[in-house]
Subunit: 170 residues, 2 copies
Amino acid sequence: MSDAVDAIIGQWIAERPDLEEDLWPVHVLGRLQRLGRVLDKEFRTFAAQRGLELGEIDVLTTLQRSGPPYALPAGALLKAAMVTSGAITNRIDRMEAKGLVERVREESGGDRRTVRIRLTDHGHEVTREYMAAHLANEARMLRVLDREESDRLGGSLRKLLESFGDTSIG
Amino acid sequence: MSDAVDAIIGQWIAERPDLEEDLWPVHVLGRLQRLGRVLDKEFRTFAAQRGLELGEIDVLTTLQRSGPPYALPAGALLKAAMVTSGAITNRIDRMEAKGLVERVREESGGDRRTVRIRLTDHGHEVTREYMAAHLANEARMLRVLDREESDRLGGSLRKLLESFGDTSIG
DNA sequence: CTTGATAATCTCAACGTTGAGATAAAACAG
DNA sequence: CTGTTTTATCTCAACGTTGAGATTATCAAG
């Protein structure tokens, strides 16, 4: 049993034997980096087959799971998506053109700097269909792990995320 | 102990209780997706502090660990980096301008379609310094896991990578 | 009030990647 | 040989993100 990371580590040991003792973090971080690329590609293709961009999925699901009234300020989406303000503006522009979300400015009383992004009925429907298909796809992708190993893996990953400060979606 | 993914799953259960049984893959894949983003940002910053792009690191380390003569055809770099041909051409252009690599076309006998990318002395030096700092940084990032948990985590990640077909760097 | 600082969003040029197509060389078939 | 297919690399326009700056609104202090 060996994967691409084993091959990479083997090359390093052959070329730089002096580094052998220091390569152990690559077993974890090299694989995480590589899995990040693989999953990104997989999810991007999955979304594209449904006419959606990965960043758009991000916005749709964030709004959906935020619950009624399915509307959040642009700034909240920005933090949840871990991207810059320019990226969110572009996403909302595109998604508004597709009829998935709409910009709502509060007329009376509220903070007139904020723009709330609200799921349209169409956006709701697209998101519901997408989530069902996406979760089925994710279950398929994890067939190789039994439930116990999956749980233990999730626990270790949680420790890492916490230690990196990724503890909140607000 | 809870991280951003716990928060996301909690929101989903509140908004869509009917999905609760289907959310378990998110404990693993949601975290992998999120760790991918976090690590990408971390490594990108780390490289930028040394005047390098993440894609450039990719090329430098691939050439270094390939061993003497520290030269590979553009196509090999393309597969190793998991990017398209246009991306590799651009990277080589930039890195050649920085004096990190050089294009070598075989004059006599060889296949004149292929272009071999070779590490320059400067590229060698930059790569050696970078690897030492990078491995120290990676060890620091994994402080939160003891060696046993780290090994077990690496093992589960290897299973996933293999099941996704990521078994070779050639 | 008025001034200054902070906050939320948008604008825009620069950047790296993608993906289709072009170019050129090599391999193969007749 | 000659013509076709395949392989390796480069070209280029389109795309999404970044990051700095502009715009507009709110808040705090005097």
